[in-house]
């Protein structure tokens, strides 16, 4: 049965050897968002995601998730991070390797479409409370300046995304517009 712990000052977490390949591959990925540029509060919060480890007599070997380690302030997770511990008898090396790879691939497959960056800001503003905005991003609302800082794209690019969205054809509203659309010439007409 997995056992739950909370990390302390004496907790020592290392990478499980079976997860090394996945971790190395994931570490080399070029991400859309620059995580190190995120506000510290946000990074701390992300860094406190629960970890799954294999408990050995001397150490805890991490295998899922692997991406949080980038956000740790030290070489250990923040104190109080929830740890789900299994013994080597409860999970095989192969299962550990598979779980590690699924974890890093899941991060990729859940990523945002690059054309939707402007949408991200606009929709997040509507959905997330001001309090959380202020707490996580140190700002009243998520703004273009921050987006550009995190993603490295120019403000002009964001503006272009918005312009493109605005100029998307809107559905015809009036009867005359419909009639004009229906009456458009078509190559196959006899």
């Amino acid at each position: 049965m997995p056992r739950l712990k909370q990390s302390t000052q004496t907790t020592e977490i290392t990478l499980h050897p079976a997860a090394l390949a996945a971790h190395t591959w994931s570490r080399e990925l070029h991400r859309w968002f620059n995580r190190s540029a995120l506000p510290e509060t946000m990074r701390k919060a992300l860094a406190q995601q629960p970890l799954q480890c294999i408990a050995t007599p001397s150490t805890l070997e991490l295998y899922v998730p692997l991406w949080t380690s980038v956000l740790w302030q030290t070489d250990q997770p923040p104190i109080g991070t929830l740890l789900v511990c299994l013994t080597p008898d409860e999970i095989s090396e192969i299962e550990i390797e598979r779980a590690a790879w699924v974890s890093v691939l899941g991060e990729v497959f859940n990523s945002l479409h690059p054309h939707a960056i402007s949408d991200l800001r606009d929709t997040l503003k509507e959905s997330m409370s001001h309090g959380l905005h202020r707490e996580l991003f140190n700002t009243k609302t998520l703004n273009d300046k921050l987006m550009c800082k995190w993603t490295g794209i120019s403000r002009a690019a964001l503006g272009e995304q918005r312009r493109r969205k605005r100029t998307q054809p809107s559905p015809p509203a009036t009867t005359q517009e419909i009639i004009d659309l229906l009456n458009q010439p078509w190559g196959g007409d006899e």
């Binding site: 015809p172 419909i178 659309l181 229906l182 078509w186």
Partner: protein, 744 residues
């Protein structure tokens, strides 16, 4: 009825077993001896066919040593006061040997007893039987009644009972001054003769409820029986009606199957003229009717009831000859032949038919309007125009008759028409009647494979009577070509020239305007596709995507604009590419049909299923009702197409109704939602698909026209060809199956 049990029951009812054996034996023996030869004679003439001869011969087999002393038997009846127990036995044993014209009496005795036997089998004539048998007995035994025998004619002078009946009728009128006893007596005898001759029904006299405490209570009704009139029996006589019995179980909602077994379908016939016919004629009439209905079930025109080419040839020759003599009736008869309508119809429909000279050509002008022929003015740029009048030229020989303004003059009566036709019938052994002349045009067109809508158009039918007329967009020249072919064929029969004016190439169409030009059809689906592609909100996206799917599927299947269109997903068989469509109820059940659908439909349904899966996963944790509905739809438990609505902040799935469709469609569909049926019917006709197959495809099948009926020669292969044609329409107009919501 012909079983020995039936014979015993019959004879026991006539001569009850309560009578002394000697009386029974005498009665049965004399019944056999007196009545059997007489019955055989009458049956040869077609009378009393309901009385089996074996019933009367039975007595001789079972009473070989029967007593023949009728005088003794009569005495026994009188002394035992049994004269009223059995009117038959009393009449049979009446002594008549001493009468001056005994032979005539015996003939009358035999005839009356036979008639009474026949009426006994028919039932409900007990009073007439008792009165007649008493009268014939009293003629032999009572001095007051005896003179009646002198008045009665010898029955053997008449070959048929009807003749005797008419003679007795005259007799009663001529001898009104007879003593009342004899007048009544004559009446009693005449009633049984008439009832048998004219196959009259008996009379049941019922007493009031309070005075019949022993009456059987009515059986509990488990099902409500209802006679439903059959539509268009094809019989001209307004007095003739056929109804079909249908049963509606009151507990049908609790039953999977009806609890009563119905082995046949009962029909009820109302024919006021039937009681005037002899029973043999009735039988022939019924056989003919059954044949007529059966032949109609074969999806083929009924031929044996139509005028032949021989008839029409002589009719035309005679009519044209008579027209040169300004015979008014000849013009009407010829018009009936060429219009498929009797003269009276033209007068009753004077508001929509005119017979005039146009550009020096005699013409029959019909006003033709269907609902889809009227569209708002702002659609004029999109939809083809239609004409409201159809000018059907008549042969040049009718010019003078048309100039005489026939509709203003009194119409020839039915009697005049019959007399007019009688001359041809007698001269050329034809069998022309005005009904056959009226029907000939439709019969001829059907044999040529002409679209029923075109026939209805030429005949001036309304779209209510022939629904396919509402959906058709007919080129005027096509209709005229059919009309010309018929007139020329009819005139060719008699070697005449109709001299019709040439058909001008002037364009113009009749009927529905909803035959979309190619660009409009293509653009319509583009507009519907664009509408959902622009939506980001998944509820709006789903609704507009469903509209596109509905538009495509209903267009391709000719689905009616009903609640829950397209039914369930399980109605589609993707392997056979068939779809079970049930969009109408008619007559006594569903008007469901199975159609073959083109490949695009299968593709669209596959994409729609993917859409539902994506919507289900999107809504899984947040909108459980939507997720569950998607899953039930995919499993075929709920209707295929549904909308999503916001109700008090919650998103709920709702069924598609015409009003909801209107709401979601908005201005995107500026004409009727069943436009697909209009367009596809006209398009399939244009692409040379058989009209009968199209009617089957659209569910426009009346009695005897069922494309997939048991006698139909049409099959699924024809529907596969229709699917190929529809696929070609979709491909040509770039109408495609489109994917729906994607959860990324």
């Amino acid at each position: 009825m012909n079983s020995p049990d039936g014979q015993i029951a019959f004879l026991d009812a006539l001569i009850p077993v309560e009578l002394p054996d000697t009386v029974r034996q005498t009665s049965l023996g004399y019944l056999h001896q007196l009545c059997l030869p007489l019955l055989q004679k009458h049956q040869r003439a077609g009378d009393m066919l309901n009385l089996p001869a074996e019933y009367l011969s039975y007595s001789s087999q079972h009473f070989p040593a029967a007593s023949t002393d009728r005088a003794a038997a009569h005495k026994t009846l009188v002394s035992s006061k049994l004269l009223t127990l059995s009117p038959f036995a009393s009449a049979l044993n009446t002594p008549w040997d001493y009468l001056p014209n005994a032979e005539k009496y015996e003939q009358w005795l035999g005839l009356v007893i036979l008639c009474c036997c026949s009426l006994h089998i028919k039932g409900d004539h007990n009073s007439a039987i008792e009165s007649a048998l008493r009268e014939i007995r009293l003629i032999a035994t009572s001095a007051k009644h005896k003179p009646l025998l002198e008045l009665l004619p010898p029955p053997q002078d008449f070959d048929y009972l009807l003749q005797l009946d008419e003679h007795l009728h005259e007799l009663r009128k001529n001898y009104l001054n007879l003593p009342s006893v004899q007048q009544l007596g004559l009446g009693y005898l005449a009633v049984v003769i008439r009832s048998v001759a004219r196959n009259r029904k008996g009379v049941i006299r019922q007493r009031g409820e309070s005075s019949s405490p022993t009456s059987v209570p009515p059986a509990p009704q488990t099902a409500a029986n209802l006679f439903v009139p059959l539509v268009d029996t094809g019989v001209d006589d307004p007095e003739f009606r056929i109804e079909k019995l249908t049963s509606f179980s009151k507990n049908s909602e609790n039953e999977d199957e009806p609890t009563t077994i119905v082995t046949s379908v009962p029909y009820r016939f109302h024919d006021r003229s039937l009681h005037k016919k002899e029973i043999a004629l009735q039988a022939i009439h019924s056989i003919r009717l059954a044949e007529q209905m059966r032949v109609r079930q074969q999806s083929l025109p009924c031929s044996f009831e139509q005028a032949s080419e021989w008839d029409i040839e002589h009719l035309v020759t005679h009519a044209l000859s008579a027209l040169t003599r300004n015979d008014h009736t000849a013009g009407w008869v010829l018009l009936s032949l060429l219009s498929g309508r009797d003269p009276g119809w033209h007068l009753a429909n004077a508001h929509k038919v005119q017979i005039t000279i146009i550009n020096q050509v005699p013409c029959r002008t019909l006003t033709h309007q269907v609902p889809a022929g009227h569209q708002p003015n702002h659609l004029d740029a999109l939809l083809p125009a239609v004409l409201n009048a159809l000018h059907l030229p008549l042969p040049q020989q009718m010019t003078a008759w048309v100039e005489s303004a026939p509709l203003q003059a009194p119409l020839p009566t039915a009697q005049v028409l019959r007399t007019w036709l009688k001359a041809i019938n007698q001269a050329h052994s034809t069998r022309l009647t005005i009904g056959r002349i009226n029907r000939y045009m439709e019969h001829w067109f059907l044999n040529q494979g002409t679209d029923r809508a075109v026939i209805a158009l030429i005949r001036g039918d309304t779209h209510q009577g022939r629904p396919s007329l509402s959906y058709s967009h007919q080129a005027r020249t096509d209709v005229l070509a059919h009309h010309y072919r018929f007139i020329n064929a009819v005139f060719d029969l008699s070697g005449q020239q109709a001299s019709l004016p040439p058909i001008t190439a002037k364009s113009g169409a009749l009927g529905s305007r909803l035959h979309l030009p190619g660009r409009v059809l293509h653009n319509l689906f583009s507009v519907l596709a664009q509408a959902f592609n622009l939506e980001k909100n998944f509820v709006n996206f789903h609704n507009k995507y469903v509209v596109y799917v509905w538009a495509l599927l209903s267009f391709v299947t000719g689905h009616r604009d009903v609640n829950a269109p397209m039914g369930l997903l399980s109605d589609l068989n993707p392997h056979q590419q068939t779809w079970w469509i049930s969009d109408k109820e008619r007559r006594h059940g569903l008007a469901a049909r199975t159609l073959v659908v083109p490949a695009t439909v299968i593709e669209q349904v596959t994409l729609y299923k993917e859409h539902l899966s994506n919507v289900a996963s999107y809504a899984r944790l947040s909108i459980a009702t939507v997720c569950a509905r998607c899953e039930r739809t995919l499993s075929g438990d709920e209707n295929l197409l549904f909308f999503l609505e916001e109700n008090d902040g919650a998103i709920v799935p709702v069924e598609i109704t015409p009003s909801r469709l209107t709401l979601i469609l908005g201005e995107q569909l500026p004409w009727a939602r069943n436009w697909g049926r209009h367009h596809m019917r006209s398009e399939l006709l244009r692409r040379q698909v058989s009209p009968e197959v199209i009617d089957g495809w659209m569910g426009h099948e009346e009695l005897g026209e069922e494309a997939m009926g048991p006698f139909s020669q049409l099959g699924m292969s024809q529907l596969r060809r229709v699917a190929d044609v529809i696929q070609a329409v979709l491909t040509h107009h770039e109408i495609k199956a489109l994917p729906g919501w994607k959860t990324r």
